[in-house]
Chain length 104, copies 2
């Protein structure tokens, strides 16, 4: 795994406190993290073009802080919430599938 990718993953506190901890991520765990980050980034791009975090939150009965966390790749945010948020921005299953398929 290359340095750039590692830094990208480590950036937001993704489970790691040290490099060796990081290396203990199985391949599957690491892919899962990348899927979350990809959804997170895409959500932010979509949402910024359309509305504020507060507006999106109200559309999906969530809260602005939760949207902020979702867009910043916070580890406490589930894939479920990321997908619900994408859908609330008008994303289709095709859009979402494409984001996930684009990982790696």
């Amino acid at each position: 795994m290359d340095q750039a990718k590692r830094e990208r993953l480590v950036a937001k506190g993704w489970k790691v406190g040290s490099v060796s901890d990081f290396l203990d991520l199985t391949a599957e765990e690491s892919i899962l993290v990348e899927i979350k980050l990809a959804l997170s980034q895409n959500l932010k791009e979509r949402r910024q073009k359309l509305m504020t975090q507060t507006e999106l939150a109200s559309k999906m009965s969530s809260s602005q802080p939760r949207i902020a966390k979702a867009e910043n790749g916070d580890t406490s945010v589930s894939i479920e919430l990321l997908i619900r948020a994408m859908l609330a921005t008008g994303a289709t299953p095709q859009d979402i599938g494409q984001v996930i398929a684009g990982v790696r």
Copy 2:
């Protein structure tokens, strides 16, 4: 929404006890349910070709009953677990993206 799809969704107790309850699903909620069902079905197909539920469970530090629920579209199963299970069967992000993109 057509009858066939409704029956498919209602089949496993998806939030509904009555038709009117069902109709209270927003478009987004309904898409989310369909994404889960699509992942669920695909997981079952993949897993059956490769291993038992017990084997898959141990590969991903889960339990056989949880895999059974995942494959049967139980409402208590998160998208996260479905994707972790797919990955444990060797599915790639492309495989997963394709399943989601295939919804609707």
